[in-house]
């Protein structure tokens, strides 16, 4: 292990021991163009043969999936929000376009200016394929591993369902599947990208809200997109998970959001727990010494 490998910016594939790996691949999910069609959720299920997640009415707007889980590797969040003006629609320049989503106005009513007093936030969530992945760090069997593309994948023939990764993930992504007993999550379509194909979700996304590519290139593209949006008056646009110096050393899948991360169910400042692992072992060592000393003291002065 390199000296950096618990924390800080690194190239995860090189750090994992790959010699001359291919470029790190990832997702840039631009929620400002998401229309909530859930094509990504469906495409992922179909390609990866992911079982259903129950058929529940959650009462969370159009979201009946609820969140990422062992059986949902893409999850489209829906938030209906009071909002003054719709800079995004204005930014589109051409006025209202039918994107297939429910309108807040009467059909055919074409009023100039702001379209209503509320907005939709829609966001397709996914595993972040962290540079410092809590799930991978804590996995005791080696089932979770780093691929040559810098992504994080579970080997299903190794996983024994200990469940440690579930608590290790700062984003609440990976999960143990009921009835199956093993841990499952997004593989960033390891079987597709190895063959030069685009992951199923990105392929199916009709608005290019989900973009797949080399992470460096995606980061540049995302920076330009935020700038454009800011110029167009969408001041609330921001990137999430793109910085290499964040708590997980940069996310392999990052986002453009239109509100605070927690509104979408994302942690505002996640940190991989293993960052503090050396300090934790030190404290445990001290406690162990104190325990041994107590036992010695307890028996001191007594000879058989």
């Amino acid at each position: 292990m390199g000296s950096n490998s618990l924390y800080g910016p690194i190239d995860p594939a090189t750090d994992a021991g790959y010699v001359d790996p291919p470029p790190r691949m990832g997702f840039f999910t631009d929620t400002s163009v998401c229309i909530g069609c859930k094509a990504c959720e469906v495409a992922c299920k179909e390609w990866n043969l992911v079982p259903d997640d129950g058929f529940n009415l959650l009462g969370h707007s159009y979201d009946n999936t609820g969140g990422l889980s062992a059986n949902s590797w893409r999850h489209v969040a829906f938030v209906e929000q009071p909002f003054a003006g719709d800079a995004l629609a204005e930014a589109a320049g051409t006025g209202t376009q039918f994107l297939g989503m429910p309108l807040s106005d009467l059909p055919g009513k074409a009023t100039p200016g702001p379209r209503g007093d509320f907005r939709w936030l829609m966001m397709s969530n996914v595993c972040k394929h962290c540079t410092h992945a809590g799930c991978l760090d804590v996995c005791p069997t080696g089932a979770l591993f780093r691929t040559e593309f810098g992504t994080v994948v579970v080997q299903q023939d190794i996983c024994n369902g200990c469940g440690y990764c579930v608590s290790g993930c700062p984003y609440g992504v990976i999960d143990r599947r009921e009835g199956d007993g093993r841990a499952w999550k997004c593989t960033l379509c390891y079987d597709r990208i190895g063959d030069g194909l685009t992951p199923a979700c990105a392929k199916a996304c009709p608005t290019e809200s989900i973009q797949f590519g080399e992470l460096d290139e995606l980061r540049e593209r995302a920076a330009r997109r935020v700038e454009d949006l800011h110029e167009q008056g969408v001041a609330e646009a921001r990137l999430y998970g793109h910085e290499e110096d964040n708590g997980v050393g940069g996310d392999g899948a990052f986002f453009l959001l239109l509100d605070e991360p927690e509104v979408y169910g994302l942690p505002p400042d996640p940190v991989v727990a293993t960052r503090d692992l050396p300090r934790m072992w030190k404290r445990a060592g001290l406690a162990a010494l104190a325990m041994a000393a107590s036992a010695v003291v307890a028996f001191a002065g007594r000879r058989g």
């Binding site: 804590v138 069997t141 024994n160 290790g168 727990a273 406690a287 325990m291 307890a298 028996f299």
Partner: protein, 318 residues
């Protein structure tokens, strides 16, 4: 999306925060109470192994015999709880494919396996006289003595690694208390070992161990319950709060009884029972407090927001 009120009344004003329909952000542990039981039995195995080694060193055969036997039983229970909590119990041996320093569970597996090896030899030595083989009757006791000390050397690691196991997670209230949790668990393990001694062969060493263990557990527990702001809250409220309160009372009563009741075999035994029960409740309380902190997004969002705000203050930029 809107601030949610917590169920419990508290002295701290309800923190303002936003969330996605109040859903958890980090995933609540999939572990069941088996893991809390394991924490207890693992600690008990460690505490009893120290007791046995003490008995061995001071020529107290009763303490040695009881300590080793309880260690063996607790070890069996630990292994059982660990394996049945797996999603694929038949694959438990996959833990032994790798030794991974970044995984406290991997390190713990190796600690438990090594401890188990020596503790089993020490335990078996106690049954040597019953064995049919002359050779075993001759070889086992000295081997058991060496193994007994080996177990005592590994026992503190067994009792404290579980604190790192919990702390090295995204579970907010487990992660936050990482400086004190190993001391709480070490104290709890000592107290439970002392409890065994007080029941089986009360004497000065068991009493001292009871007091030292209880003091360590209570002092560290106090920091866990009060020293971490919002993230200490789950240790004081609701069911985990009640469990830990009961644990504190039992542990304190056990330690007091061990000293004050030293002339009475019955009081000593009751004190031992109280220490054992206190140790078990401590583990269940800590376990459940973590689960509570993972289920409510408040414990993820508010501390992280505060951290961000502090960063902004320092650097002057968001």
């Amino acid at each position: 999306m809107s601030p949610r009120g917590g169920g419990d009344r508290s002295m701290v004003p309800e923190a303002e925060f936003r969330s996605y329909y109040g859903r958890p952000i980090v995933r609540p542990p999939v572990w069941t109470h088996d893991i809390a039981s394991y924490l207890f039995t693992g600690g008990l195995a460690a505490g009893s192994a120290l007791l046995a080694a003490g008995g061995q060193a001071t020529g107290d055969a009763t303490l040695r015999r009881v300590g080793r036997t309880v260690t063996l039983g607790a070890l069996g229970a630990s292994t059982y709880f660990l394996i049945i909590d797996l999603g694929r119990p038949e694959r438990f041996h996959h833990m032994l494919r790798v030794a991974k320093p970044t995984s406290p569970m991997s390190m713990g597996t190796w600690i438990l396996a090594s401890f188990g090896g020596v503790a089993a030899v020490a335990g078996a030595a106690e049954f040597a006289p019953l064995l049919p083989s002359r050779l075993l009757r001759r070889v086992l006791p000295p081997a058991g003595d060496a193994a007994g000390y080996g177990a005592a050397v590994l026992a503190p690691a067994l009792a404290t690694y579980t604190a790192v196991l919990f702390a090295d997670t995204a579970v907010p209230s487990w992660n936050a208390v990482h400086p004190e949790l190993p001391f709480m668990f070490a104290g709890s393990a000592l107290a439970s070992g002392a409890g065994v001694g007080l029941i089986a062969a009360p004497g000065k060493p068991a009493r001292r161990m009871a007091v030292l263990g209880a003091a360590m557990e209570l002092a560290a527990g106090h920091r866990v319950e009060h020293g971490h702001g919002l993230l200490s809250e789950p240790y004081r409220q609701g069911r985990p709060g009640k469990l830990l309160q009961a644990a504190r009372l039992l542990t304190a009563a056990g330690a007091a009884g061990a000293v004050l009741g030293r002339r009475s075999r019955a009081v000593s035994a009751l004190s031992g029972l109280a220490l054992l029960a206190g140790s078990a409740l401590t583990r269940f309380g800590v376990f459940e407090a973590g689960v509570v902190s993972a289920k409510d997004p408040k414990y993820t969002v508010v501390p992280q927001r505060e951290r961000l705000a502090a960063k902004t203050e320092v650097t002057g930029q968001p």
